[in-house]
């Protein structure tokens, strides 16, 4: 009787947690309630973790004198608590300290950890349980595969975003063929595991499947260009959710199934939304090898011969100070240079002089949708000064100066004019229609997509080379004096 009460409390707690996740997600998609949504989801997680501590699932079952006995193993309980404290403390410190600019790779890292957990849980369950059904074994094989792919895929995405490895697509001959063979091999191994059901050969097959899936995850993400990483992380995020749901099927744990499926579904939908914002199809992202090396090199070679106009801080300051309408276009370069405060200062000085200053935010400026909004909000840029692409694009014609700070691909007119360009068709900010264009940039290096930008050779464009924060600070001083 008492045991039944315990089960009921645990099951009801899982239900409460699921409801909290549902409301959490609902609120997370509305700006005014998003923060509360995240807190609700965190509360749901706390409820679920506490319920698991109470549940009989944590007990070790063994046979003593012909009777089956279940009891807590104190060592295991202690290890669980130590593990949660270590993992929780390290990641909380990391999450607190990380720069706003590095948020995308942080999300990738945490996602990879979730994927690894799902894979380890699947493998552990297979090695531990005896006499499990084929449905459960199929879930184990799938969970191991998807969790592992998500783990190594996220690590590669993390390294690309950190620029520890090149953001350019890394390709080698017959890559797709090898990946396809590897994938078919993994599926075949899964079938073998399900057919064998148990025994040493089944275990060995699952270990090989584990290793092969780890390799596949890395191989699939390596050839994808850095500019597509947001979509890749969204896909991997959704995969980890799916892997979590699969472990829930094996453990008959409905909290895992519901939360995992919610993330799997919303993550897939979010992937489509993001891909649409960048005008890329998901298949194209995964198998297209964006900005393949030969095309980029060719464009770079012809581009170097074209003339550019370089300007000085003082000249740029005068152009800005005597303009009526200025639109600032921030990009990833602004984020890298931590120039969000400097750019707000410049806007303040210009506003004091009566200049109308607005910010044009491309949906995928930075490394993730919404990245720029977060950074500029951190620098207290007023919300009403930020304009989304659709609201400001027709206004560039009436703009005296467009100041492009570290943005490149999102202002490249090739997306509109050049059908042969890899980014052709991507919606861009119509900066080229402004009367004057000042581009603040570190060097002539091409953008994340690795494509030449016509805008820099436009006769209306002047280039100001240097670190965004330094140059903006100098511009503030020069504008005050102008």
């Amino acid at each position: 009787m008492i045991e039944n009460w315990r089960d009921a409390i645990v099951d009801l707690s899982y239900l409460a947690a699921a409801i909290l996740f549902i409301f959490g997600l609902k609120f997370l998609s509305v700006p005014a309630r998003a923060r509360r949504g995240n807190q609700l989801a965190a509360l749901g997680m706390t409820v679920a973790i506490v319920a698991t501590f109470i549940s009989r699932e944590l007990e070790v079952t063994k046979e003593e004198a012909g009777r089956v006995v279940s009891e807590y193993s104190l060592t295991n309980l202690l290890l669980i608590i130590i593990g949660i404290v270590i993992g929780g403390a390290l990641s909380t410190v990391a999450a607190r300290r990380v720069q706003m600019t590095a948020m995308p790779q942080m999300v990738a890292a945490f996602n990879g950890m979730g994927g690894a957990t799902a894979a380890l849980v699947s493998v552990g369950e297979f090695m531990h349980k005896v006499g499990i059904g084929r449905g459960e074994i199929a879930s184990i094989a799938l969970g191991t595969m998807i969790g592992s792919i998500s783990f190594t895929g996220s690590i590669i995405a993390f390294l690309k975003l950190e620029e520890r490895i090149s953001g350019r697509p890394i390709t080698f001959p017959n890559q797709k063929l090898y990946n396809a063979i590897l994938f078919i091999g993994i599926i075949a191994l899964g079938v073998v595991v399900v057919a064998l059901q148990e025994g040493t050969s089944a275990r060995i097959a699952l270990w090989i499947l584990f290793a092969a899936a780890l390799a596949l995850g890395a191989l699939v993400v390596l050839p994808i260009g850095g500019a597509d990483m947001p979509v890749v992380i969204a896909i991997l995020n959704s995969l980890t959710g799916l892997a979590a749901a699969l472990t829930g099927l094996v453990l008959s744990n409905q909290a895992l199934v519901i939360a995992g499926a919610l993330v799997g579904a919303s993550g897939s939908f979010l992937t489509l939304l993001m891909a649409r914002a960048m005008n890329r199809s998901v298949t194209n992202v995964l198998f297209g090898a964006f900005g393949a090396a030969p095309a980029a090199a060719g464009a770079g070679a012809t581009g170097e011969a074209k003339p550019i106009r370089e300007t000085t801080v003082d000249d740029a300051a005068v152009t800005l100070a005597y303009a009526q309408r200025v639109v600032i276009v921030p990009g990833y370069g602004l984020a890298v240079a931590q120039a969000q405060h400097a750019v707000r200062e410049l806007a303040d000085v210009l506003k004091e002089r009566g200049v109308d200053v607005r910010y044009a935010i491309h949906p995928v400026a930075g490394r993730m949708p919404g990245h720029m909004n977060v950074l500029l909000a951190e620098a207290n840029v007023p919300y009403e000064d930020l304009y989304e692409m659709d609201r400001i694009n027709d206004d560039f014609v009436n703009t005296d100066v467009a100041l492009v700070v570290g943005a490149n691909d999102v202002v490249n007119p090739a997306a509109r004019n050049d059908p042969s360009s890899p980014i052709y068709g991507m919606p861009i900010l119509n900066v080229d229609q402004a009367k004057n264009i000042i581009v603040l940039k570190r060097s002539m290096r091409s953008g994340f997509a690795g494509i030449e930008n016509e805008l820099f050779h436009d006769p209306k464009t002047v280039m100001l080379f240097g670190d965004a924060r330094e140059k903006l600070t100098e511009l503030v001083a020069a504008t005050k004096a102008a």
């Binding site: 193993s73 403390a89 531990h128 099927l249 008959s252 744990n253 499926a261 919300y383």
Partner: protein, 103 residues
């Protein structure tokens, strides 16, 4: 045993539909925080890691379980903290935005 799996698949499919419905109208500004929030929610897999470690009866299972608990906990805690930091920014400027719209 397989009866449980079928029940799980049943719940799974219903949750899939719900997941898409829930975030159907999210504005692009919230794409990153939403992704980060769902990223924290799949940290629920920590429960699975706790169960593996709780039931472990061999040293190597303890190693797998312990590793899984650390990684799962990192996913949960880090995920929620990072998301909260992103959304903190939204809250700070909300009054200003509201005032701007009224004028």
């Amino acid at each position: 045993m397989d009866q449980d799996v079928l029940m799980g698949i049943y719940v799974f499919l219903l949750a899939i539909f719900l997941g898409v419905e829930l975030i159907g109208r999210v504005p692009s500004t919230l794409h990153t925080p939403l992704m980060s929030g769902t990223n924290a929610i799949h940290g629920i897999v920590l429960l699975g890691a706790m169960i593996i470690l709780g039931q472990a009866d061999a040293w190597w299972l303890r190693v797998i379980g312990f590793l899984a608990v650390i990684l799962g906990a990192a996913n949960v805690f880090g995920g929620f903290v990072v998301t909260d930091r992103m959304l903190e920014m939204f809250r700070a400027r909300r009054p200003a935005a509201g005032a701007g719209q009224k004028q």
